[in-house]
Amino acid sequence: MKTVSLSRRLFIAGNYAFLIALSVSCLFPLVHVLAISFSSSAAASAGKVVLWPVDFTLASYEFILQNDAFIRAFGVTLQRVALGFSLNLALTLLCAYPLSREQKHFRYRTAYAWYFVITILFGGGLIPWYLTVKETGLLDSVWALVIPGAVPVFNVILMLNFIRGLPAEISESAFMDGAGHWTVLWRIVVPLSMPVIATVSLFTLVGHWNAWFDGLILMNFPERYPLSTYLQLMVISSSTLNFSGVSLREVAEISQRTTRAAQIFLGALPILLVYPFLQRFFVKGIVLGSVKA
C-alpha cells in the first residue's frame, strides 16, 4: 500500500492547476476577442468586457458580412486553398514516390534528392524571387499564390521517408505481376500512405489558409487579396473601415475595435471549427515526422 507524501500531493495538485491554467491561457485570448466582437462599442471601450459579451449585439458581424471586400477576400482564399492544396498534394506524391526508390532502382536518386534539398538550405532572397514571379507573368492572379510554392520540399521529404518505411515486398510483387510505376503509386503506395497524406494535407491546408505575405506583395489590387492579407490591412495596419452608410443605431453599437474583433474571429473560425476533429491527425503527424521509431 503506497502512501503518498504531503509534498507529492501538493506537487500533483499544483501541477494540475498549472497545466490547466496554461491550457486555458491558450484559449483565453480567443474567447476574450470573441466576447468583444459580440459587445457594444461603449462596453468595449469602457473595458467592461472580459470573458463574456456585455450589451450583446450582432451589429459588428452584420457590418462585416455586408462588406463586399471581406466576402471577396474570403472567396479568393477559398480559391487559393482549393487550387494550392490539390497542386501541392499531387506534386508531393509525384516527387516523393520516385525519390523513395532505392539507389539501385533509380540511379540518379540522390542527385535529384539533393536538387530539392538545396532549395531549403539556400535561396536567392526576397527580391529575386519577386522579380521571377513578376517575369513569369503571375502577378495579380490567383496562380501567383499557388504556383511559386507548388513544391513543398519539407512535405516531400516527410512523405518519401514514410514511403521508404513501407515493406518493399508489396511493391516488388506488384512489379513482378507487371504493374508499372503509376499503378504501384496509385494503387499501393497511396492507400498505404494515408496517415502521412492526411498529415501533409492538413498542414498544407492550414498553410494556405494562413498565408498572407505573398498576397500582400504579389497582388497590386486589393480586390485580389486573400482573406489573411485583407485582415492584415484591416486589423494590423489599422486601415479604417468605412463607416459611412451605416445607420445611426449601428454607429452607436460598433466601433473600430469591435469590428476588428469580429474580423479576427471570423478569420480564425475555420481553423477553430476544423481543429477539434482533426487534432488527432496533427498530433500523429508530428510524431511521424520527428521521432524516428
Binding site: 494540475y16 496554461l22 532549395t119 498565408a211 480564425a268 521521432v291
Partner: protein
C-alpha cells in the same frame, strides 16, 4: 514523374538564386538585370555603413537566440510536468489546447495581442491598473518589445515541441523507472536520471535542427507587431530587407542583405544538419 516538380522548383527556386547578381548591381527594374550598372561590393559597403545595421543584426541574433533557448527549455519542462499527470482526459485536453495557437496565423494572433496589450483599452493594462500599477505600452516600448516577441512566440509554438518530447518520454523503458525507484529515487531524482537522459536524443535533434534558425527572428510575427517606435529593439534583418526592397525600392541593397543572410544561414543550417547526423543519426532522406 519527377518532371513537373523539377521544372517548377527550377523556375521558382533556382532562377531566383541567379538573381543574386542584383546584389552586385545598382538595379533599376526598367533596365533589368542585363542593363543595370555593376557596382561590385558597393551595395555591401552601403549596408555596412548604414547607421542602424549593428542594431538590426544584434536584434536579429538576440531575439532569435532567446527564442531558440526558450523554445527548447519550456517544452521540455512542460513535457516532464505533463508526464506526471495520470488523468488521461486532462492529459489529452491539455495537449489539444496547447497545440492550438500554432495553427493561428500571426495576423490573428497579432490582432489579438494588439488588442490585449493596448495601453488604453487592453485587458492586461486594465489588470495592471486594478493592481495599482502604471499601464505599460508593451508593443511601443523598446524595453518590452523583444520580450513580448519571445514570450508570445514561445506561447504559440511550445505545443509542438511539447508533444514531441512527451512522445519521447512515453517511449522510455519503464523498467528503468522501476530500477530507480528500487534504488530509492524520489520523483525529482527520477526525472533527472531517467527521464531527461531518455529524452536526450530527441532534445539533441531538435536543438541542433534549431541552430539553423539563428538568423530567423520571425518576420511574420515582427512585421505584424512592430512599428516605427520599436525599430531600435525590434527591427530584424528580414523586416529591413522588406523595407529596403519593397518599400524603398533599393533592390540592389536589399538583395545584398538577403544574400548575406542566405549565406550565413547556409553555413548554420549545414552545420546543424551535420551535427544532427553525427549526434543523433538524423538523415534528411
Amino acid at each position: 514523374m519527377l518532371l513537373p516538380g523539377v521544372a517548377l522548383v527550377f523556375v521558382y527556386s533556382y532562377i531566383p538564386m541567379a538573381g543574386i547578381v542584383i546584389a552586385f548591381q545598382k538595379f533599376v527594374p526598367v533596365k533589368g538585370v542585363a542593363g543595370s550598372d555593376w557596382v561590385g561590393l558597393g551595395n555591401f559597403d552601403y549596408v555596412l555603413n548604414m547607421p542602424n545595421i549593428d542594431q538590426v543584426l544584434w536584434n536579429t541574433v538576440y531575439i532569435a537566440g532567446m527564442k531558440i533557448v526558450a523554445g527548447l527549455v519550456v517544452p521540455i519542462g512542460i513535457a516532464i510536468l505533463l508526464n506526471e499527470v495520470r488523468n488521461v482526459l486532462i492529459k489529452r485536453g491539455v495537449q489539444t489546447l496547447i497545440y492550438l495557437p500554432h495553427f493561428l496565423s500571426w495576423i490573428i494572433l497579432g490582432g489579438i495581442l494588439i488588442d490585449i496589450l493596448s495601453p488604453s483599452q487592453g485587458i492586461v493594462n486594465r489588470l495592471l491598473a486594478a493592481l495599482g500599477m502604471e499601464s505599460v505600452f508593451f508593443l511601443g516600448s523598446n524595453d518590452w518589445f523583444p520580450y513580448v516577441l519571445v514570450a508570445s512566440d514561445v506561447w504559440k509554438e511550445f505545443g509542438f515541441s511539447t508533444i514531441v518530447y512527451l512522445a519521447a518520454i512515453t517511449s522510455i523503458n519503464p523498467t528503468l523507472y522501476e530500477a530507480a525507484i528500487m534504488d530509492g529515487a524520489g520523483h525529482v531524482r527520477q526525472a533527472r536520471h531517467v527521464t531527461l537522459p531518455g529524452m536526450l536524443p530527441v532534445i539533441v535533434l531538435l536543438a541542433t535542427l534549431s541552430l539553423g534558425n539563428v538568423l530567423n527572428a520571425g518576420f511574420e510575427q515582427v512585421f505584424n507587431l512592430y512599428s516605427a517606435s520599436v525599430y531600435e529593439s525590434g527591427d530584424i534583418l528580414d523586416t529591413l530587407i522588406y523595407r529596403l526592397g519593397l518599400l524603398d525600392a533599393q533592390f540592389g541593397v536589399a538583395t545584398a542583405v538577403g544574400l548575406f543572410k542566405s549565406l550565413v544561414s547556409l553555413v548554420l543550417i549545414s552545420v546543424s544538419y551535420l551535427l544532427a547526423y553525427r549526434l543523433a543519426n538524423y538523415r534528411i532522406f
